[in-house]
């Protein structure tokens, strides 16, 4: 890490994403600084998850570039992409744990693939990661035996296995009760504070957005791209775009006033 300390963790430029011949998002541009908690927000079906899938390389964008720490990802060779993916963690909506493996084996697998550690060390480290997300003692369980919230946390433990520099969260609070969802938010802030990880969160959970986001970009289905970029607390007050104020204020002026008074993280 001698060079490029000032390069953004993630730099998306002119990205065009879509499925088949249908383009959902055009000319998406944003940069995420290191250690930033960055939210991608927007209504249902506006392409938040699609954008995420294009950024992490699950789909090839039709135009534009995705750069991690200054290095172009989507135009790199397959081998180089594999190297770059080691520094990226992804938490999927349902956790996406491998159902044939126990929680411990799930967390151990990335370590097995990419580290020279022996089996005992891998198990020890995996146990620690599970404990970090509050799943100590669940290492022998299979994904089908635990609740949705636990699966999500185990998925996070797996995403953190290789101590990635940047972690993507796909709707982390979807389907969770408010308390668990809040705990997950705290976990995200902790990761940033303790390990300096950059967190990119796809969400439409207003409570999370206002309590932990440093910056948001808002996507819109009809605009087919970004319609707002900035601090959510500032956007809700100052945005000239009625769609942004309406979304962040849940369509109610009274709520807007209440949310504006929330303290910054």
């Amino acid at each position: 890490m001698n060079t490029g300390q000032n390069l953004p963790a993630l730099d998306v430029a002119g990205l065009e994403c879509g499925y088949d011949e249908q383009v959902l998002l055009r000319d998406v541009n944003f940069q995420v600084k290191r250690g930033e908690i960055f939210f991608i927000i927007g209504g249902s079906g506006c392409g938040k998850s699609t954008l995420l899938r294009h950024i992490v390389g699950l789909r090839a964008p039709t135009a534009g570039t995705v750069k991690f720490f200054g290095e172009c990802f989507n135009e790199a060779t397959a081998g180089r992409q594999r190297e770059m993916l080691k520094r990226i963690g992804v938490l999927y909506q349902g956790g996406a744990l491998w159902s044939s493996l126990s929680l411990l084996e799930n967390v151990m697998l990335p370590l097995e693939e990419y580290t020279p550690l022996d089996a005992a060390e891998r198990a020890e480290l995996a146990c620690m990661k599970l404990a970090q997300v509050g799943l100590a003692g669940y290492d022998g369980y299979f994904p089908s035996e635990i609740s949705g919230g636990m699966r999500k946390r185990a998925g996070l433990a797996r995403a953190l296995a290789l101590d990635p520099a940047i972690v993507f969260f796909d709707e982390p609070s979807a389907g969770l009760d408010p308390l668990t969802s809040r705990k997950l938010d705290e976990l995200i802030v902790n990761l940033r504070d303790l390990l300096g990880m950059t967190c990119v969160v796809v969400s439409h959970e207003l409570a999370s957005i206002f309590s932990i986001a440093d910056r948001v970009v808002m996507l819109d289905k009809h605009a087919g791209g970004i319609i707002a970029d900035g601090d959510p607390r500032a956007l809700v007050k100052e945005s000239t775009d009625v769609r942004v104020r309406e979304f962040l204020g849940r369509g109610e002026d009274a709520k807007v006033a209440a949310l504006q008074n929330q303290p910054s993280p």
Partner: protein, 376 residues
Amino acid sequence: MPEPTTTTPDTRVQLHPKDDELQVELQGNWRITEPRPSWVALLAGSAPKRVKFVWGKLEMWDSALLLFVFEVRQWCRVQGVYCDLSCMPAALQKLLGQLVVVNETPMSLDRSRDFFSMVGLAAQDVWAKTREIATFVGECVISAGYLLKLPHKFRWRDCLEEMQRCGAMALPIVSLISLLTGLIMAYQSAILMRQFGADIYVADAVGLVMVREMGAMMTAIILAGRTGAAFAATLGNMKAGEEIDALTTLGIRPVDFLVMPRIVALGVMMPLLALYANGLGILGGMVVSLGVLNIPPAAYWIETQTAIDLGDVATGLIKAAVFGVLVGLAGCHSGLRAERSAAGVGNATTTAVVMGLLLVIVFDALFAVVFRIVGL
């Protein structure tokens, strides 16, 4: 006697003709779960110039009433009759408005294309699918090369588990089907051989056909239905649960991790199962010969040995190994290309079985030609 819970249709709708205006009085209980009066039947051929709704004592109403009013309105529109809804309850008016919006269908357009475009599109589709399959096979070859270089990256444990599932656990069904195949063939060839007094050659026929053809073929068919479908369902489900995406974003190729262990397992177990099926088929023939043709098992066995040489067994086993790989490829390919839904997984299993069987038969035909040229 229990009291009827609903008023009869007749009392719910009262028609009062006044000059050329028809007053329709609605009252009583309207439930969507109960039959609803038909407007056309109520009219009974009369043709009013105006229709006016009058609201009687409505006890309970839901969408049933809404549908009735809508039916009347549509009839009026078609007939060019004025329909007076002025004194309709506000709630019903609002709901009717929603129903009208839902009912407004956009003009249907002719979406068909001309013959040449359709052929062109179909050809493009076939080309895309062929490319997709070729890409998948290519990926598998690259992956095989990679795993040969780095054998410790191969998921040996998964492979052994799959071997047990597709090999050992398939023994009962393979036993039954190959034994019966041998029995059937013995019966059929006995009919022919008896005419020439060449009963003993039943052993040659059953042995040769079983070892060269039916052993491998029957095993492949069983495993296409049993294991190919299971591969597709497992991988399809994993895809729906984003488990395959999770592998990809970890930089692990799903082909290395999921496909290769399965294909290797099938490629190894299929010849073993085919060998076993050969044995049981010959046993089946032996049973029929003993029971029907009175040929002692020792004579049958000696005759079988003279008919079959190692080359015959080898052709069967080569075919079985190839069929195993084909069934595995078909299963994994359709699983990995499944749509992310329950129906998608179902379609993937169907495709896996159909494609597996198709490939097995096509390659069997190819092998017949190739072995003839090679002289095996």
